[in-house]
Structures are given as structure tokens and as C-alpha cells.
Amino acid sequence: MRSLRSRYARDNVVLVFIILNTVAVLIPLFIILGYVIVQGFNYISLDLFTKELGSPTRNMMGEPTGLVHTIIGTAVVDIMAVLISIPFGIGAGVMLSEYPDHWANPILRVLNDTLNGMPAVLKGLLAFVLVVKPMGSFSGLSGGVALAFVMFPIIARATESALMNIPWSIREAGLAIGLPRWRVILSTIIPAAKVGLVTGFLIAFARAAGEAAPLVFTSFGNNYLPVKWTGWIFGPVDTLPQRLYNLAISPYEHWHGMGWAAAIILLAVITASFAAARFFIRDKKQE
């Protein structure tokens, strides 16, 4: 047995090591965030939110250029992803938690987790095969479907665990007063679990909103606003992550600047949905 003193000394060494490690890792992470924030704010301008991108030669020719079509496009594609993923995510979650005896549940659980673990780039390929090829064109819709593939496994998991947290006795109480099962689930269980649902949902959204890989083969990109409103759904649409990629690898200096600006907008969207999720969780804890 080592002496007590040496054991405590080792305790301190370990603590110092751990603290140094933590600091050493957190610093680069801070640097990244700091860089994006500082650079991003440098390049935020009014044009960014009001003008279209157009040609890379615009800057040279003294014409204004911006990312308005990209920002709207991101909103459109993300909303489509949300609308597509909610029914499937919640449906699968309800199936797992409310019909626990269904024979397909073990398969569903494994395959849902598998899908969740799949690289996003493969979800893009899947959306390409399922939507772009049959429709014959790159489209905002296919981008929405690709992002929905990212979102619904997360929503399904979150729904399942949120519903599981509701005591079984509440369901029994509902059934006992003669309510049919669907009514119990829709008006008692789901409202009771809504905090968990919304949180899972925001986290899924935050994950999907930053994905670029699935959008490269699906929503494709566009330097302008679509000319018709249907263009947002059936035509190629620009989105922040995919545009950011194109801007970053381009050789044009003012495009690099817009890339930083796009990065901070993207980061703001994701941070906001994360903060909202945290807020909901805290609310729940206080209840």
C-alpha cells in the first residue's frame, strides 16, 4: 500500500492533468467560435439580406451582391424537412412507446437507430435516387426530403423516450373513464410529453440545419431567387450550408467574406434552436 501522501499527490497530479487537458481542448474550440463570430460580423451588411448572389464578377463590376435567396431558400427547405419529418418521427415514436407489443418494434428500433447513425451524405444519395431521379430535376423538395432523413430518426427517438416518461397509470386512467386509446394518446399523453417532444425536435432541427452534404445532390444551388413561387419546391434552391461550401472553396475574396457571413448566420440559427431546446429542458426541470 502506498503512503497516503503519495496517493494524495497523485490525486493532484491527475487533477492538474485533467484541468490542463480540458483547457487545452476548449481553447481551440473557442478559437473556432471566436473566429467565425468576428469574421462573420465583419462581413455582415445590408446587401447580404436584400440582394441576390449573381455572378462572381458582380463585385468587380461594382454591382451589389448578397445572399437573400440563400437565406429564404434555407428557410423553405428546412420547413419542408420539418413538415415531412414530424409525422414520420412522431408516428414511429408513438408506435414504439404506445404499442410496445407490436412485432415490428424491435426491427423499427434497430433500423431507426441505424438510419440515425448513417452518414448524411448517404441520405443525400437516397434522396437523389428516390426524389431527384423520378422527378427529373434537382429541387428544394428533394433537399427537404434529404434533411427529413436526418431529422426523423432523432425525432422518433426523442418521442419514444418522452412518451415513455409519462407514467403508464395516466393511460390507464384515461382508458378507465372510457376514452378510446387514440384519444388518450392524442389529448393526454402527447400534451403531457410536449416539452420532451419539442426539445427533441429542436435538436433534430439543429442537426439538420447545418448539413450540407445531402443538399449538394438534391437542392443543388441557385444564384438567384426562383422566378415563380413553385420554384422553391420544384426547382433548384440555394441553401446556406451548400452555398457556404461553394463560397469557401472559391478563389474570390469577397465570396470568402460572404462565406464567413453565411457561417455566422448558420451558427446563429443553430445556436438559437439549441438555446430554445435548453430553455425547454430547464423549464421542465423546474416544474
Binding site: D11, I32, V36, L115, P119, V121, E211, A212, A213, A248
Partner: protein, 327 residues
């Protein structure tokens, strides 16, 4: 109020409201659930089907181990360079990230005061959510030039003078390459591993810690003997999931790895991964066999991710059952 309820109970509910409503509801839930099942299967099937031309032409193992990726003369394709790239960058990132990630988790869950651990945890979660492209733009404009000038070139020059045998392993110090991609991947998966490890630590029952403390263990001894062994299943599963993340990471890698499709890869020199080659070449492949080969690479990426995910699930289940008894 009670009057209302009585009324409801007395009136026998319509079929649509009652048993039929239940049937309709259950069926729609099952349909939605089955579509989720179908989606995952569709991914496997469509990747295999779309890539089948390449897989049948070169053979399942032939394509897997083929080292050539020649879309010009021979039209021969093989996934081996990309598998090497994916496996080495993600395992490298895993090795580099493991100790720091665990250390942060230990600090957050065991040492830090509540307010600090709360802050760190939120930060780690936030950083885990920073999109790949955002890390990518930082990598392109800040990290790549920095690592080239402060690490790669000095090391390369040193090796030229002192250890010429080493230079072919190091490769051309250009910033865009395997090492840069690996370090970026490390940065990206640390928060992920940390978050999962913290969760695992939080699952350790208080009694476990108290028992160890009661035996006179120091803080570190408690962690080492009571906390880490108890949560090692969770840690291991979390590590596997992080590995899965690293394997599938696409955009930041494609922006920083240098995109070279021929072996051998060197430490500083450019390389390629399965995900990066797909995102680089998919929209642009002209020949059918080139396109189907990319789909086939996607299929192999699916298989590798599947294995890693199933392994994580297996570990989680195995340790979850025996975890209580494990020392």
C-alpha cells in the same frame, strides 16, 4: 363538469370515435413506423442496386480491395484507397480524441462545481452542433495555412536534414492532407465523445461512489475504481458512435483532405475518404461505370457504418445488463 362527463359516458360513443377510431389511429401509426423501416431498407437496397453494375463488374471483394480509380483509360474502379483514407483518418481522430474527451468528461462530471460543469456541458453541446461546413471554412482559411507553416514545413525541413528516410512517409507539406483532416475530425468528435461520456458518468449510482469513498479512496481513486469501470460500457458505446461520426463526416474532410485518389497516402500529403470522394465526384461523373462505382462506394460506406453502429448498440446492451455487477 361532472354533469358533462356523465353525459359522455351515457351516450355510447360512435364507432368512428371508439373502436374504429382506434383501428384507424393504430393503422396510421404503423404505416408511419413502417415507412421509417422502409427508408432504412431503401437506403441499403438503392445503394446496392445503383452500385450493382460496378460491384458485379469488379466483384464484391475485387471492388473492395481494388486500388485503382481510373476514369480515363482503363475504367477500373476500386474502393480501397478511400477505405484506407476513411479508416486511417477516423481511427486517428479517435485515438487523438479519446483521452482529452474523457478528461473533459471527468472534469465536468466529477470535479467541476455545478455552475461550471453546466457551462462546459452547454458549450460542448453547442460545439458539437457547429456544422461541418463552418469548421471547414475555418479549416481552409485559418487552420490549414497555420499548420502548414508552423508544423508541417519545419518538420519536413528537419527531416530532410536529419532523417531523410522519414520524408517519404511525411509527404509534401502543403496543409491540405491526411493530418489536417484527422486533426479537424478530432476537434469535431471530442464534444460528441465527451457528451456521451458525461451521460455515462451521470448514470453511476451515488452508492457506488459512496462505497468507494467509505473505503478511504481518494477522489481520483473513486473515479478510477468505481466510476470508470461502472460506466465503461457507456464510454465504449459512445466511442463507437463517435467513430461512426468520424467515418461519415463529409464536408470538412472534403474541404481539407486534398482529394488524392491514389495510394499511398502520406502523413502531410493529400488523401481521400469514402464520403469525400462521393461528394466531390457524384454530380460530375460522366461514365456510367464511374457513377455506379461512386454508388458502390456509398454502399460500402453504408456497410462500414452499419457494423460500427451495430457494435455500439451491442456494447450498450451487453454492458447495460451486466453493468451493475461489473467491477
Amino acid at each position: 363538469m361532472s354533469d358533462n362527463n356523465t353525459k359522455k359516458i351515457n351516450v355510447s360513443p360512435s364507432a368512428l370515435y371508439g373502436w374504429l377510431g382506434d383501428r384507424i389511429f393504430a393503422v396510421s401509426v404503423f404505416v408511419l413506423g413502417f415507412i421509417v423501416i422502409f427508408t432504412t431498407l431503401a437506403m441499403a437496397i438503392s445503394l446496392y442496386y445503383e452500385g450493382s453494375e460496378a460491384i458485379t463488374r469488379f466483384g464484391f471483394w475485387g471492388f473492395l480491395t481494388g486500388e485503382k480509380w481510373d476514369p480515363a483509360i482503363t475504367m477500373e474502379f476500386g474502393a480501397w484507397p478511400f477505405i484506407v483514407g476513411t479508416v486511417s483518418t477516423s481511427l486517428g481522430a479517435l485515438a487523438l480524441s479519446f483521452i482529452p474527451a474523457i478528461a473533459i468528461a471527468v472534469f465536468t462530471a466529477e470535479y467541476a462545481p455545478h455552475w461550471l460543469s453546466h457551462i462546459i456541458e452547454n458549450l460542448v453541446n453547442l460545439i458539437a452542433a457547429v456544422p461541418s461546413v463552418v469548421i471547414g471554412i475555418w479549416g481552409v482559411f485559418v487552420f490549414t495555412p497555420w499548420i502548414r507553416d508552423t508544423v508541417e514545413i519545419p518538420v519536413y525541413i528537419w527531416s530532410l536534414e536529419n532523417a531523410p528516410g522519414l520524408t517519404p512517409i511525411l509527404g509534401n507539406p502543403i496543409g491540405y492532407g491526411m493530418m489536417t483532416a484527422t486533426i479537424i475530425l478530432t476537434i469535431m468528435i471530442i464534444p460528441f465523445t465527451t457528451a456521451l461520456t458525461v451521460d455515462a458518468f451521470r448514470m453511476v449510482p451515488k452508492e457506488q461512489r459512496e462505497a468507494a469513498s467509505a473505503l478511504g479512496a481518494t477522489k481520483w481513486e473513486v473515479i478510477r475504481m468505481a466510476v470508470i469501470p461502472y460506466s465503461r460500457g457507456g464510454i465504449l458505446a459512445g466511442t463507437m458512435l463517435s467513430l461512426g461520426r468520424a467515418i461519415g463526416e463529409t464536408m470538412a474532410v472534403a474541404m481539407l483532405i486534398g482529394n488524392k485518389n491514389t495510394l499511398p497516402f502520406t502523413l502531410f500529403g493529400p488523401g481521400s475518404t469514402m464520403a469525400s470522394v462521393i461528394v466531390n465526384e457524384f454530380r460530375e461523373a460522366v461514365e456510367n461505370i464511374h457513377l455506379t462505382s461512386l454508388m458502390a462506394v456509398g454502399f460500402y460506406l453504408f456497410l462500414i457504418s452499419l457494423i460500427v453502429n451495430l457494435a455500439a448498440a451491442y456494447i450498450q446492451r451487453k454492458y447495460a445488463v451486466t453493468g451493475g455487477r461489473a467491477v
